[in-house]
């Protein structure tokens, strides 16, 4: 199926990588968005570094291939320049939860109007298989030959504590639900965090079966209820147990751009009165 958003770049993900499913869903979502009247020239994809970052090359929109861990501040800055832009950031769990965790916390708190898709394969994939802060204890990666002795933390719980206004988890094993949630995330006014939980078929193939068995949808969940959100988010500790999917939390808060009266600076015609500037120093 071809799309307006295709590029002619050679796809270098491993054959069968589920990032391809996410890519297809994102293109479908963007196509629907454009059909609903969103100016596609205002779409910007910001990418972190990692396999997850390669969305930059495979999506034909405006793009910024940022530094590892820094996709979120980069995306935030783009909103500071022009609030009319629709910004979608692609990060891996390494970029979002290790190198750039602090930015996740602060964007959750500040609530700029943008969407972060965290492609969580629970591994540093592109650097060939090391543990991340959400890899389970015992995992044998290239830097943990005896098995990791550290337990994961729960980044969605951190995001909730930091007052993120939209928190969801989806899986490419259920593309239809994934598309529906991503669409809602993009349309959400404020910071939306969507964790895409997925198996890395090269380093964690057994996750494929595990995710199929353990994931379930939280249909009927009260999205505006903070305590319920905490309960469902903390019901999975990134190690054992069932894995909830769906929108866990959604509330409306004024965005950073609204609070700071951000405008499209590029369109602002400034008249700079140098004599007035000079007067300041008399």
């Amino acid at each position: 199926m071809s799309s307006d958003f295709d590029t002619s770049q050679v796809n270098t993900w491993c054959p069968g990588c589920l990032n391809n499913v996410v890519l297809r869903s994102v293109k479908k979502t963007l196509t629907a968005l454009a059909e609903s009247g969103v100016n596609k020239r205002n779409l910007v994809a910001v990418a972190d570094i990692g396999c997850a970052g390669k969305f930059y090359d495979y999506l034909n929109v405006n793009g910024f291939y940022a530094l590892h861990g820094r996709a979120l501040p980069t995306a935030f800055g783009i909103k500071m320049a022009n609030p009319e832009l629709k910004v979608l950031a692609f990060l891996g769990d390494g970029g979002a939860y290790a190198e750039g965790l602090n930015h996740l916390v602060h964007l959750a708190r500040l609530n700029p109007d943008l969407t972060a898709l965290v492609l969580n394969n629970r591994i540093f994939a592109l650097t060939i298989g090391q543990v991340t802060p959400v890899t389970e204890k015992g995992y044998r990666g290239s830097t943990t030959p005896e098995g990791s002795v550290d337990s994961p933390y729960n980044p969605l719980s951190v995001a909730l504590s930091a007052q993120a206004s939209f928190i969801a988890r989806v899986s490419p094993l259920d593309p239809a639900s994934m598309e529906a949630v991503i669409t809602k995330a993009i349309n959400h006014k404020g910071f939306s965090l969507v964790e895409v939980i997925q198996p890395c078929i090269t380093f964690r193939l057994s996750d494929l079966q595990r995710l199929k068995e353990k994931c379930y949808s939280v249909a009927g969940h009260q999205e505006g209820d903070y305590l319920k959100a905490r309960e469902v988010i903390e019901s999975w500790n990134y190690e054992n147990g069932r894995i909830p999917l769906g929108i866990f939390y959604r509330v409306n808060r004024p965005t950073w751009e609204e609070r700071h009266q951000v405008r499209n600076w590029f369109r602002l015609k400034r008249r700079i009165d140098k004599s007035a500037l000079k007067k300041e120093w008399r």
Binding site: Y56, Y65, G77, H260, I272, E280, W281
Partner: protein, 537 residues
Amino acid sequence: MRKSVLICGQAGQGINFTATLLGRVLSSAGYYVFIYRDYGSLIRGGHNFNIVTFSDSPVHSHDNKFEAVIDLDQKAAQHRSNLVKGALVLNKEKASQENWPEDILESKYQVNNFLLGFLVGGWGLPRKLLIQSTKRELKEWTQAVKAMNWGYEQASPREELPVRSVAGHYFLTGTNGVSSGAIASGLDVYLSYPMTPATGVLVELARQAKTRKILVAQLEDEVSVINSALGASYGGAMTMVGTSGGGFALMTEAISLAGMAEIPLVIYLSQRTGPSTGVPTYTAQGDLTFARFAGHGEFPRVVVAPGNPQEAIDRTMEAFYLAYRYRLPAIILSDKHLSESYYTFDNLSYPRIRPDRFVVNRPGRDYQSYALTANGISPRAVPGQATWVRANSYEHDQLGFTTEEASMIQKMNEKRLRKEKALGQMVQKWQPVRSWGRGRNLIIGWGSTQGAIRDSLSELPGYRFLQVSYLAPFPRDEVQQAIKRAEKVILVENNATGLLGQLIAMETGHLIKDKILKFDGRPFAADELVDRIKKIS
């Protein structure tokens, strides 16, 4: 005539306020003023001081010989060796000799105003200058004016200082100059994380944000600051960040990103004494090499080093112009001494550089974010225009897509480095070096040492001063020729190893042997420089 007043006290006693006010009074009376601030990294206590040096001819630096002292913490004795004979010391002791009313001397801040009134009264300067200046500085000025009047009336004439008629004196710091230059350049977004001595620009721009329609934000750390700034600049905003050495160190990965992705950005770096946390509120010129070379990989950049607030305006506007026209990072290198000292000028000028985002009006369908051009400059577009705009931290092709292909890697490197040639030609017209005085002997320096060096020239016949204002692109020919023509060459720097000297050696092959270096956190004063230069001669 050239005089200095020392105003000393604990942090929190309002000595900065009092010194600034005195500076304002003197400058509105037609005198040239320079104020040096010396303070520790604490909020209350300690022993801080300001030196207010003034004259009827231009002053560019402070002196360490005081004619009068406003001594709020009874510590003037510490400065005994710097008092001129018969210096006027205003403190509690003097108060009890003079039977000044006790309540005012016990009242925090009003004592400053009382003593300031006394000082100004003794010079016979019109009271209205004092009152006008106070009203300018304070919203609630009634009490202060009362205390000043009181002090003014107690004063018996010491020495008549005439009010000089001048066209008008401008009174500002390097911080003010950088802020004003940025606004004049069309600044849209300023991002920062507080760090002395760069915080001043954040505070100043926050003060002006509303009236000037700029977005000023303090973010969670310097890494976020610079990455957000690059996002904002990519998004179409005229963007600047500010920090000191430690924060700049955190920014370096993204400086390299600005070089690679060719995103314009202006970076204000105000140095303090290093290494590491160093001495936060003291000055140094220790980051020249770091600023010049920060960032992995090879890419062109601009580093300008203003020497006073007028130059801070000029160089800031040039930095914006060059960053946006050539799509690269431009660093404004200041330091505590320039950022926080007050200077006076007969006039101020804003260079005739028209603010420009350098964005193509109507990018066509065939637009390429990284077009390979003869001068290396790829036309800039911003997202939202009728094309796709890409910025890539990876090596990329003309459209901005990632590449690992050998010939493209080489072409893109060459394209980026080609910008250096046009850049070098461009800055020729902006005086990348400045020359002061005449003589066969040469003093070479940069940045905030300009003031003390200029003030020392009158005592140093046969010397001229070459100020290097562009560290990148480096004015190689100008520096080389000046050194070749000189009989004696002396390097003056506020650091321990002579970093400009090292850069000159790298760029021209000349090793400067005679160096006058100072690295105790304090700026040079002119008399000290004269002594040290004479010793070499």
